[in-house]
């Protein structure tokens, strides 16, 4: 049974659509609600990966420092996840995450979720499968960005 507001938010989150209640229950015990203000930094590039977030509302910019400028390479908003690398061991944060709008999210200790995945493989499979979908989507987006389809050459390699 999922009694709490956290549980209800989890059940409605698109990232967990279709996940059986038993597993949602397990996740809800690991989740707590967090809020961040506009422009607040959630994590910095090089930080050890510690938390995994399911965003309930708001918008987060994933930023990279390039010489002389900061580039936003992606935004992540409500219904999406942030910080999947915290479920992998020995992966530091690759980007800076800064709130473009105030953010409300469910946070999970990545190490604890990873430990549950190890212990309960059905749970682990579902979580990893969803993360893989997210990572594949981002990889596809990155490939399109690299192609630079809107440039004057329209993605042609010459």
């Amino acid at each position: 049974m999922i009694p709490t507001a956290v549980g209800a938010a989890l059940k409605d989150h698109p990232f967990l659509e279709g996940v059986p209640e038993r597993l949602l229950d397990k996740l809800s015990q690991l989740a707590f609600e967090v809020t961040f203000e506009e422009d607040q930094i959630i994590f910095r590039e090089g930080d050890p990966s510690s938390f995994f977030y399911l965003i309930l509302s708001g918008l987060v910019a994933l930023e990279l420092a390039a010489p002389g400028r900061v580039v936003t390479i992606q935004t992540v908003g409500d219904g999406e996840e942030l910080g999947w690398s915290s479920l992998m061991s020995r992966v530091d944060k690759q980007f800076r995450a800064r709130c473009m709008k105030p953010v409300k999210a469910l946070a999970f200790d990545g190490a604890r979720v990873a430990a549950e995945c190890e212990e309960d493989h059905e749970f682990g499979y579902l979580i990893m499968r969803r993360i893989l979908v997210t990572v594949a989507e981002r990889l596809r987006s990155t490939r399109m960005q690299v192609l630079d389809v809107y440039s004057a050459r329209g993605g042609q390699i010459k």
């Binding site: 698109p14 918008l59 910019a61 994933l62 930023e63 400028r69 900061v70 580039v71 936003t72 390479i73 992606q74 935004t75 908003g77 219904g79 999406e80 473009m100 709008k101 989507e137 596809r140 987006s141 399109m144 960005q145 192609l147 630079d148 389809v149 809107y150 440039s151 004057a152 329209g154 993605g155």
Partner: protein
């Protein structure tokens, strides 16, 4: 500059003869894109167009190009074009001065399915300069708002400085039953909107897929991915329409320059149902 060209009366003119039009104004949209307002002779059929159609614009001594009409189809006294300067002819067009003359042929090609979309929601997906050929469809819907359900405009650009019609776009987003979302491939710290490819905006759209008509224009690779994803999200493929681009010469189906499979983009297109284009868009060798 003047055009050494007499404009015969419309009835005697061949489709290959341009009409001389006066350039009324040029407005800078971005660092490389400009909107030109042309005044064709009063009452000339060159100015009567449907959303999605294009004209051939002619700069004497330089060349002629297909350019979509980007203005309001119900404002017949002016023809509006939004042109990105990418090469010789487009550069010559955007550097003309008010008062100069430009030749126009047309309008040519197929239009967005405005009639067939009545009673449905319309999802517009534009990439880069692709918003220009879609703007007349947006104007049409806004003028006949009661004929359509929701209007959603999704727009992807390279960076914030490349986005067209910024003020107008923001105003569309404030209208009832209308969503207008823009995303860029790369944002700077001052950009407060979405960053990511245009398909990442689909998750924010609220509409019934079976009751939605999608109209797409942008780089072909973007339209390919977007069409596939819209189909996955439940929009019937026959309700997805794309505007295609091919090099053109005659614009009336004579020369074969614009051929794509069995179609001539100039007369069978540029607006096609996705179902007709799908086999050709996935070809790796063309």
């Amino acid at each position: 500059m003047s055009l050494a060209l007499e404009t015969p009366a419309a009835a005697e003119r061949s489709v290959m003869e341009p009409v001389a039009a006066r350039l009324a104004s040029v407005a800078k949209e971005t660092h490389d894109t400009f909107t030109l307002n042309l005044e064709p002779p009063e009452g000339d059929p060159v100015a009567v167009f449907q959303p999605g159609q294009f004209s051939m614009l002619y700069v004497p001594g330089v060349g002629e190009l297909p350019i979509s009409i980007s203005g309001d189809p119900e404002r017949r006294e002016q023809l509006t074009y939004t042109i990105r300067s990418v090469g010789q002819v487009t550069y010559q067009l955007v550097t003309r001065r008010p008062g100069d003359t430009i030749g126009i042929r047309g309008p040519f090609g197929t239009a967005w399915p405005m009639k067939e979309s009545r009673g449905k929601s319309v999802l517009i997906v534009a990439g880069g300069i692709g918003l220009a050929p879609l703007r007349p469809a947006i104007y049409h819907i806004l003028r006949h708002r009661g004929d359509y359900n929701r209007l959603v405009v999704l727009y992807g650009g390279r960076s914030p400085r490349d986005l067209l019609y910024k003020k107008e776009f923001a105003a569309w987003g404030m209208l009832p039953d209308t969503q207008a979302l823009a995303t860029v491939d790369y944002g700077g710290v001052s950009w407060r909107g979405y960053v990511g490819v245009v398909t990442t905006l689909f998750r924010h759209v609220r509409m019934q897929p079976k009751e939605t008509v999608a109209m797409l224009c942008g780089p072909e690779i973007m339209m390919r991915y977007a069409s596939r994803e819209l189909e996955t999200r439940g929009i019937p493929p026959e309700q997805i329409h794309l505007s295609m681009e091919r090099n053109m010469k005659c614009a009336v189906g004579f020369c074969g320059h614009c051929q794509m499979g069995p179609y001539f983009v100039c007369k069978d297109g540029p607006v096609f149902p996705y179902t007709s284009m799908k086999p050709y868009m996935d070809l790796y060798e063309l």
